[in-house]
């Protein structure tokens, strides 16, 4: 089934188990990874893709991604560097991939949203208008994952 809107997208993601959600989330993050140069973010994505990743490894990756996220907030009153801010949202998306899961979490959806914000920041930085095609890209990523 092709995914054509966010309602279907969100519902499909919700159907996945945590392990699958983490892997799809990692794919979403990889799409925007060039926007972030923080090694901890890379490490989080790499960790998730590893088939035998342990809870301890996930926790370590989570700490790293969280620190990367906190350190990259734009401070109140500073002039916004939109590309740097894109990096912040990539870190946030990466954090979603590796965070400890709570009941009702849809961490793949959260990662997808953060990745879209990263892309939006990039388009603001480039002055290339407010629309980008990250959403469609994410639908494709999910479709490919479901049909593997």
């Amino acid at each position: 089934m092709r995914i054509s809107n966010d309602e279907e997208f969100k519902a499909a993601l919700n159907e996945l188990d945590v392990y699958q959600q983490r892997r799809v989330a990692a794919a979403f993050v990889e799409s925007v990874l060039p926007l972030c140069s923080d090694v901890r973010v890379n490490a989080a994505v790499t960790a998730v893709k590893h088939p035998g990743v342990t809870d301890v490894e996930l926790a370590t990756a989570y700490q790293g991604a969280n620190s990367a996220r906190i350190e990259s907030f734009t401070q109140c009153g500073k002039e916004t560097d939109w590309l740097a801010q894109a990096g912040h949202f990539v870190a946030k998306a990466a954090q979603c991939c590796v965070k400890p899961v709570e009941p009702g979490d849809n961490l793949a959806w959260d990662a997808a949203m953060a990745a879209r914000m990263a892309r939006a920041c990039e388009s603001v930085a480039e002055g290339s208008g407010t629309r980008n095609n990250e959403t469609e890209k994410q639908y494709r990523i999910l479709y490919e994952h479901l049909n593997r």
Partner: protein, 426 residues
């Protein structure tokens, strides 16, 4: 006297009023204000004593407005203020003061020290002794519309994102809407979930609302650094937008300083009362709750505490709404010691968090918040100010405390009863 200094002295002369004169004459050097200031309590350095932070203002007052002071200046018994001294005070007035207002609460003779700091900042700014970053932020607000350089396209990008996220429309420039929602740059940039939450809440409450393309920014850093002329320009933009769109109420976002600027200082800056109401988002949400328009389900299981942002609570007067809202979604809500209007500042407001020079003292001052948290041991901290959120997260990270921080509006939205299945967590 340099041009900058004489401008500063002139500005300070203008802002000195009977309350300030009364305060300076009442001060008995008891030092209690220091015990209320987290910059002093955590560092032990007496230079951070609040009344000492306003010493330049006192000198101007004494030498310009008291007979004895003028005489003493004439015969050389007291020295006039120098540019160098103003420069020395920059650290005290901007790096180690968030204008949190605790000092004003404890002074036994009734001195409103934060009021004096606010006025002193006007003189500091005009003499060029305000941190570059804050001066630049004010300039950007006046020229671009936002202290952080957020222009309309960026807002539209976020709006697009939120429309995707929620499946709902975010109205722009709708004339006759009941509410005009303002955002702070911080929320637009760092916390898009805030606008997302508002969109969903407004839908459920069935209220008409709108953003304003010429006045989406609530933050007023003119007030922060103390340049009333620029602060006036910023407020006027919002007033013009609200009057053009004929809205009943303007909603100030979670950002604390935006609220004090708009609600309490705005009318005095533009010289007339508003023709619309101004409410903080928490007041609006609490009203919806009281009217039965806010339907939530489920409760947070974790032990929650609330960090009361200084500018909203102690300085803004929004005290109960957040507690009512917390209890809507939590059965395990515990107050910190010194809660509500007595709360201790996060340490980063008033331009401090963006000031690199202040980072060291800010992190030292955070020990006060850490002590409060160590005492109450929450699983999660909730607050309602974008800057507090970041400052708190940074402080927690620095002291290696594993404690999530969330925004209250966002938390309420996560508990909304909605028709779409699987749309939020319980």
């Amino acid at each position: 006297m340099s041009a900058g200094l004489s401008r500063a002295v002139n500005v300070l002369k203008e802002v000195i009023d009977a309350p300030i004169a009364s305060y300076f004459n009442s001060c008995v050097h008891c030092g209690l204000c220091a015990e209320a200031c987290l910059f002093y309590t955590e560092s032990g350095d007496p230079k951070y004593t609040p009344i000492h932070k306003v010493e330049p203002l006192r000198r101007v007052y004494e030498q310009e407005y008291t007979l004895l002071g003028r005489l003493m200046k004439m015969v050389g018994l007291v020295k006039p203020l120098t540019d160098e001294e103003l420069g020395q005070w920059q650290e005290l007035v901007y790096d180690s003061c968030t204008m949190c207002g605790r000092c004003s609460m404890v002074c036994p003779v009734g001195n409103d020290i934060v009021y004096m700091v606010r006025k002193l900042r006007e003189g500091m700014a005009i003499s060029g002794h305000a941190p570059d970053g804050v001066v630049a932020a004010t300039k950007r607000t006046v020229e671009i519309g936002s202290p952080m350089g957020v222009k309309l396209p960026a807002v539209k990008a976020q709006v697009g994102h939120i429309q995707d996220d929620t499946g709902l429309e975010v109205p722009m420039d709708q004339e006759g809407a009941e509410y005009m929602v303002l955002l702070s740059s911080m929320e637009i940039i760092n916390f898009p979930e805030y606008l997302s939450a508002i969109t969903r809440i407004m839908k459920q409450a069935g209220k008409t609302w709108t953003l304003c393309s010429t006045a989406f920014e609530a933050t007023n850093s003119g007030i922060q650094i103390g340049v009333s002329d620029l602060a006036r320009v910023i407020v006027s933009r919002i007033v013009d937008g609200a009057e053009r769109l004929k809205v009943k109420t303007v909603i100030s976002p979670e950002c604390g300083r935006a609220y004090t600027a708009l609600r309490w200082e705005g009318p005095n800056l533009i010289g007339r009362p508003y023709t619309f109401k101004v409410q903080h988002i928490l007041e609006v949400l609490d009203e919806f709750r009281a009217q039965g328009l806010l339907k939530t389900q489920g409760f947070e299981e974790e032990r929650l505490t609330f960090h009361d942002p200084c500018q909203i609570v102690r300085r803004g007067g929004v005290i109960e709404p957040q507690r009512n809202l917390m209890r809507m979604v939590s059965k395990n809500f515990v107050e910190m010691s010194d809660p509500s209007k007595y709360n201790w500042c996060c340490g980063g407001g008033g331009g401090v968090s963006a000031n690199e020079d202040a980072e060291e003292i800010r992190l030292i001052a955070f020990k006060r918040k850490k002590a409060q948290l160590d005492e109450v041991k929450p699983d999660k901290m909730v607050t309602a100010c974008a800057n507090c959120r970041i400052v708190l997260e940074e402080g927690l990270e620095h002291y290696q405390m594993d404690l999530p921080v969330v925004g209250l509006t966002e938390m309420i939205a996560e508990h909304l009863v909605e028709s779409e299945p699987g749309s939020q967590k319980e």
